[in-house]
Amino acid sequence: MDAGKLENILRRYDGSTHNLLQILREIQEAEGWISPESVTALEQALAVPRAKIEGVASFYAFLHLKPIGRYRILFSDNITDRMGGNQDLMARLCHLLWIEPGKVSEDGLASVDLTSCTGMCDQGPALLVNGHVVTRLDEARIETIAQLVRDQIPVEEWPAEFFQVEDNVQRRDILLGCEFEPGSALRALHARLDTDGVLASNTRSWREGLPRGLVGPATMLDEVKHANLRGRGGAGFTTGLKWEACRNAPLADGQDRIVVCNADEGEPGTFKDRVLLTSHADMVFEGMTLAAYAVGARRGFLYLRGEYRYLLDHLEGVLARRRRDNLLGHSIIGIPGADFDIKIHVGAGAYVCGEESALIESLEGKRGTPRNRPPFPVTHGYLEQPTIVNNVETFAAAALIALNGGEWYRNIGTSHSAGSKILSVSGDCERPGLYEFPFGVSVAEVLEACGAKDTQAVQVSGPSGFTIAAHEFDRKICFEDIPTAGAFMVFDKSRDMFQVARNFVHFFAHESCGFCTPCRVGTSLLKNLMDKLHNGQGSPYDFKEIEHLNHILQAMSHCGLGHSACNPVLDTIEKFRAAYDARMSHQDFTPAFDLDGALSQARQMTGRDDALAHFGAAHGELQ
């Protein structure tokens, strides 16, 4: 990379190591890889050891320290992509381009590989080409792509419809149905300060702990608490408590409070944050601003998953407009001291970075390894400063609460799950897309709405969530029954639930950060066992092994990824046992590798093909 270009990038990121990931991402985008020369230049410019730079770069799937081809094509490999035939499409493209999957073509032109779910499940199969998402793949699109690559047409000049991403909103409720006017929630809150008697008296009791003159922030906190808002990122933590803990955390000199919006949306089958950021970005940013006002933060980040890089310009545009309209910046809507601004950080292919402490590490420009907790982010988050991390939808809901009041909000949904939930519906149904329902909607109602037929199972909340079988379809989507981060993948009776679980296990093995022993090794062992069953080498022995690994992962892992890596296997074993029993091809232990295949290289080298050169009768087969 020429010095001028690099200087430019460095300047935009204040030449700070905390922006290392962003700097590396920009180099990757500009050059197609991160060359040793670029690393050397960074080493000098940032005064960080190159091993650290390489350590960070190699952590993220979309950054490359080796040339990866001028066209880097990654097929999304969620189970819904598989159901849409991504494997055949990928094989076809490889064939057309004369490429082996996972390898760069000899002329350095292209490489083709797999990547975790790209969040396009409602319009898949999908792929990424040099970071740009291509949706609705079919045979014809693959042929055209092969041609475009062979003709070396720059991705920017590819047909625009390839990159078309639809919102596919199928059912709107309070949030998606809100005609939100930018600034309206901030103004509504401000207007309510002196008039809302009930809340004002409520605030007095707990306001004591706060610095004087904070009636506005206290009111916002109170509204959110009164609304019973719970996080939409999966765990369902009470948002008001989180904000309050951050607000009350002591600040050292020179420290600020930080608001982070988690738009990593890495859980396969989830794509509602994509739509919120596409069509409701003002609500999300306004929610962040309200949060900042409530906790006393002046800096905010949106952590956008690398797969949604295509939204960056649009989001920067919204931020710029909000700055112009005094909805960001200094003295927001004229409230003295209400200062807040938002920066966008883009991820680079690491599901674990959705875990809030790993996300913070990543924001700091490091490898996305989950931290040891306590201390929690609310007291020691971004650069050790008090930080709240919330999901995109949580912030949008907070804006809605500021607009309409906590009392209004708490009366929607169920007693422990206030408000609505946006579900990302995909898989075997007529109308995939977003469905917003008040909490408490049953699985059956959602299936009815999306036009699902002959449904065998639904995976709620993604691979780390729950496999729901037909006899449970009257169960409800809410924190007291089936909590969810939003994914709702439908499988009809033609699907093999073992393959569903196996796909999920592959996902976890691919996304394990490698920090802790049980998950680093355990997810790979689990993957190998599922593959062993798949390859027809399974026996009851392997079944016991799977159960053992499940236990170790759950009990010993460092973070939620490892803890839930076995969920899909546990659930499918419990509810779809037949799919596993069908794979117990052997009664006795059978090797994971094919014995005859293990002689292949020797056969090839010796040219032998006699009976003893194979495993069979002559050698005494296993059983």
Binding site: Y541, D588, F589, P591, A592, F593, L595, G597, A598, L599, S600, Q601, A602, R603, Q604, M605, T606, G607, R608, D610, L612, A613, F615, H619, G620, E621, L622
Partner: protein, 183 residues
Amino acid sequence: MEVVEKKKLKVATTSLAGCFGCHMSFLDIDERLFDLVELVEFDRSPLTDIKEVGKCDIGIIEGGLCNAENVHVLLEFRRQCKVLIAMGACAVNGGLPAQRNHLPLAEILSEVYLSSPGLGNGMIPNDPELPLPLNQVHPIHEVVKVDVFIPGCPPSGDAIWKVLTDLLSGQGPSLGHGLLHYD
């Protein structure tokens, strides 16, 4: 007399891709071997010269799996023996031979027979009598279910004795500090 004979446990042993070190160690149980012979009767073993393994109570395997022949013998042992013991580092984790596993076999064969002077007259032996090497060396538990492991390179006579006597007395075999070692 016959009754006593029948009570003896039948034991078979073999060395696959091993160095006979473990068998030497086995003999190291010294005079206790006499006690052992009171309790057991040897079937196929380098100690007896019986070539085919018959129905046995205990099968003891030294060495890992390098070639087709090793696998063949191991499968035979697994079929015939009630309790299968992996004896020594090579049987337990592949040992020294497994250190070739990061190299493709094709590369090794051509290095040995085609590139280095003085061996195989520029040709990889293809005599059907010779067992073909496996792509990778495997410890035996990756191919059959193994019931008992005695690690060590070689395990000491004491360790082998302890495991066998534990087994003969119907206990789960264990090795404490000093007896349990991997080197």
